[in-house]
């Protein structure tokens, strides 16, 4: 079924399939380089696939495979984030991480991990004795034996960052087509992408389709160089008082299978425990499993015993686009004007800006960068910077748990990238994401969003 509405007019230099964190970063990079960019996203709003559920950490790359493309992208992405976050109004909390050994065996593995970190260019690490570890993190469980500190590991807002990347792209001329699934593609000199919202013509296509990357490759170039088997990660979020229990990001010693369960604060002042690592075939649904969540909670209570006295605020699950390969699968297909950016597993948030730099180099387009690019600033909803409720004339609080103001809601429903679903509004503002999960604000939100969502929160009877 072809919808004639909303088709993007004219020819684009670059069309990006997928508005996840990777697609958003690539859109920004090409727009700043002077390209005419189109982003096509099948969901009603951006960040609706792999990018909607991650651990919200900006990694240094200390534990990435040395010499890998993933490592290079994380390092570059980390540097660029620190360089631009202020101008985009994005928060960062440089709280550092502790890699903690809980068994004798894990303790024996610490020196090799530290050596790997140094090899990866992260040289400011320092070993922590048991005494120093427990002095630094008094709430830590008694079984923690030793650790090393990685000062650069940081917390960021996992939705504001990609939103700001795409917003900057849009402010510099990029166009975004949401609710547009690519159904067919052909080359007639240029690429012609058939979408559920009409045709898009572009010189270069970038496949940033996340959990659907291999399928989109088949559609574009008739083959796939990797197979995605999504890896599900479930998380438990504790209410804000629990955030006072820890300062660092508490990382486990990784095993061959998984990086293990992390305990850390979030940018929004909560405490996060997760993820699990479960391979599955379903690319759409990230189902929550009560038994796995209960196991996460008991693991969390081993790491920080005082969590027993704290309340769970939210649970969520994300799907990471894992492949059979150990590294990212980023390929410029010779003679096809097509770049695949696939298999960006759990480090997409940290690596996105670096990936975008890499993709720009691979594309090798000759462009004239904008002389004076626009630098939009996004509204802060993290706890690390001042919030709208602290400023006058905010119109009153709508979401009481997260202190989301009426002004923030109305802003998120307008502008160049307005929220088009409740999920999108939640990611932009935090509304309903708090401890009451909408008990108090659902009615008011339903009223405020009535004419803004593709699917209204409620039909009206009166």
């Amino acid at each position: 079924m072809k919808g004639p509405v909303h088709a993007l007019k004219g020819r684009f230099d670059v069309a990006i399939i997928g508005a996840g964190v990777v697609g958003c970063a690539i859109a920004r990079r090409f727009s700043l380089a002077g390209a005419r960019v189109a982003v096509v996203e099948k969901a009603a709003d951006i960040l609706d696939g792999a990018s909607k559920g991650n651990s919200a950490i900006l990694h240094t790359g200390f534990d990435a495979p040395p010499g890998s493309l993933e490592h290079a992208c994380i390092r570059a992405g980390y540097e660029e984030y620190l360089a631009i976050h202020d101008r985009l109004g994005l928060p960062v909390l440089r709280c550092g991480a502790l890699v903690i050994a809980w068994t004798e065996e894990q303790e024996a593995a610490l020196p090799a991990l530290m050596e790997k970190a140094r090899k990866n260019g992260v040289t400011d690490i320092e070993p922590f004795s048991r005494t120093r570890l427990h002095e630094t993190e008094p709430a830590l469980g008694p079984a923690a034996r030793a650790a090393f500190r990685v000062p650069g590991e940081s917390l960021i807002d996992p939705w504001a960052a990609p939103f700001a990347y795409l917003l900057q792209a849009v402010e510099n001329g990029a166009e975004v087509l949401r609710g547009a699934e690519v159904t067919a593609a052909r080359r007639e000199g240029d690429w012609l992408l058939d979408t559920t919202q009409g045709e898009v013509r572009a010189g270069l296509v970038v496949n940033a389709a996340g959990n659907f990357g291999d399928l989109v490759d088949e559609m574009l170039i008739g083959r796939r160089d990797f197979n995605i088997r999504p890896r599900k990660g479930q998380f438990v979020v504790y209410d804000k008082p629990a955030a006072a229990l820890v300062r660092h990001i508490l990382l486990p010693v990784p095993t061959a299978i998984t990086k293990g369960v992390v305990v850390c604060r979030t940018a929004f002042g909560n405490l996060l425990v997760g993820p699990t690592a479960e391979d599955q075939d379903d690319r759409q649904h990230a189902g929550l499993d009560p038994d796995k969540l209960a196991a996460l909670i008991s693991r969390g209570e081993e790491i920080v015993p005082a969590l027993k006295n704290h309340e769970v605020t939210a649970i969520y699950a994300g799907l990471r686009p894992a492949t059979e390969r150990k590294d990212y699968c980023i390929t410029a297909h010779e003679g096809l004007s097509c770049i695949t950016v696939g298999g960006i597993r759990s480090t997409g948030l940290s690596g996105a800006l670096g990936i975008a730099q890499h993709v720009e180099r691979l594309a090798g387009l000759t462009l004239a960068p904008a002389a004076d690019p626009v630098w939009p600033s996004v509204r802060n909803v993290s706890e690390f910077q001042s919030r709208d409720w602290e400023k006058p004339h905010h119109g009153g609080i709508v979401c009481h748990c997260e202190l989301v103001t009426r002004r923030e809601i109305m802003d998120a429903l307008s502008g160049p990238l307005p929220a088009r679903s409740l999920a999108g509004l939640k990611r932009r503002t935090r509304a309903t994401m708090g401890r009451c999960q909408g008990f108090y604000c659902t009615a008011e939100l339903s009223r405020l969003t009535r004419d803004h969502f593709d699917q209204p929160m409620s039909e009206t009877t009166e």
């Binding site: 009560p290 602290e390 006058p392 119109g395 009153g396 009481h400 999960q437």
Partner: protein, 403 residues
């Protein structure tokens, strides 16, 4: 209009408890009631059904009329009400930080009464599995949508829980032309007492006892649920899930402040006058005891309001930590008790308890090691259990012997 910087008594929360206390105090002191909602009345504001008001107004009323009546009474007594004011933090003194449209400010008072109420446990807190589509909500959210916004978020939902509020959810559905397809209760019997459990049968809604809600299905909207009961696993086609009951105190405000929280109840720890660990703070209503009826909260608010009057007149004895006697629970199944301390005066005439599993046995109370009351109990989680307030002071132990 900005909140004043100083009042005699600040009441946080304009539900039945807060309004009742304000009504008692207003003739004597400068009383300000603040609420984060846009109108006074609390939860009854969006319970557009009966029965409210028998105890307080001596007639049968719908929730919104009852809410308006209580607000009008407080105002007539001379209390000032400010809507859309969110209290952000509590400080010794006492004083509180608030945000309102004008921005952040501080209100100082002689005494502060906390009456911030409750919320229902969310799907997240119950670790319900499956996906996270739209159409999963608490009874409170549903009532807000139906009664305040004239909305209908789904047509044939399932209801999780069999507390009083779960039956209130059925009434709300009926008002909006919503037809629940099932009521699901993990326990072997309904939580609410007879005759409430007859109600779903009258409405033709199947009641599934001993049944767990395993998973919610659907990506954007609810498409079905998977339940497990005596007949095994079953798929129910539905377009919404009402997650009802298991109330929790709305008490996160207490974190990092001067008022101690009882981890067992989740609300502030009080003595028998409603006084908190910081003696300039009092608390009343459902934030103390999830959950009681509006009428109960109103009576409690009135009693605590009178205790604050006595305190401000200098009648209350000075707070002496050595004379605060703890009320201790003895027996695995006992989950919490209110008040948590006794210290001389009495404003509340009964102790409230809850259990965390179905129980049957002998409940007794000892003061200074001597038994002063006992009775047989047969109860379930979320049901009210009462004991008379002991007249003697001293350490209190409440013992449940099952069998």
């Amino acid at each position: 209009m900005s909140p004043p910087s100083e009042v005699d008594v600040l009441v946080v929360g304009a539900g039945p408890a807060g309004l009742a206390a304000a009504t008692e105090l207003a003739g004597h002191w400068n009383v300000l009631v603040v609420d984060r909602e846009s109108a006074a009345g609390g939860i009854p504001r969006h319970c557009g059904h009966y029965p409210f008001g028998m105890r307080e107004c001596h007639r049968l009323m719908r929730g919104p009329d009852y809410a308006r009546a209580l607000a009008a009474r407080a105002e007539a007594a001379g209390a000032r009400f400010m809507p859309n004011v969110n209290v952000i933090a509590l400080h010794p003194g006492p004083s509180v930080t608030v945000t309102a449209d004008g921005g952040v400010s501080t209100i100082a008072a002689r005494r502060v009464l906390l009456a911030t109420g409750v919320r229902e446990s969310s799907r997240a807190q119950r670790l319900i599995g499956g996906t996270k589509p739209g159409g999963v909500m608490s009874t409170g959210a549903l009532q807000g949508l139906v009664y305040l916004e004239g909305g209908r978020p789904f047509r044939r939902p399932v209801i999780l829980g069999t507390e009083l509020v779960s039956f209130s959810a059925i009434m709300t559905c009926a008002h909006a032309g919503i037809h629940p397809v099932a009521m699901i209760e993990p326990d072997t019997a309904p939580t609410a007492r007879w005759p409430m459990p007859l109600y779903p049968r009258l409405k033709g809604i199947p009641l599934h006892l001993s049944t767990r809600l395993l998973a919610i299905e659907g990506r954007d909207r609810v498409e079905g649920v998977v339940v497990e009961g005596p007949a095994g696993r079953q798929h129910i086609e539905t377009d919404g899930v009402i997650v009802s009951g298991r109330f929790r105190p709305e008490a996160t405000l207490l974190a990092n402040g001067p008022v101690a929280r009882d981890p067992a109840s989740g609300g502030p720890a009080i003595d028998a006058t409603g006084r908190c660990s910081d003696p300039n703070y009092y608390a009343a209503g459902n934030m103390l005891h999830p959950v009681e009826t509006a009428g109960w909260c109103w009576a409690e608010g009135r009693a605590v309001g009178r205790a604050i009057l006595d305190d401000l007149r200098g009648k209350a004895p000075p707070q002496d930590q050595s004379q605060r006697h703890p009320v201790t629970l003895c027996g695995d199944a006992l989950s919490w008790v209110v008040p948590q301390f006794l210290s001389g005066d009495r404003a509340l005439d009964r102790l409230q308890l809850r259990v965390d599993r179905p129980v049957k046995g002998r409940l007794s109370m000892r003061v200074n090691g001597r038994e002063v009351a006992s009775r047989r109990v047969q109860s379930r989680p979320e049901r009210r259990i009462l004991l008379p307030m002991p007249s003697q002071d001293g350490p209190v132990t409440i013992v449940l012997e099952q069998g």
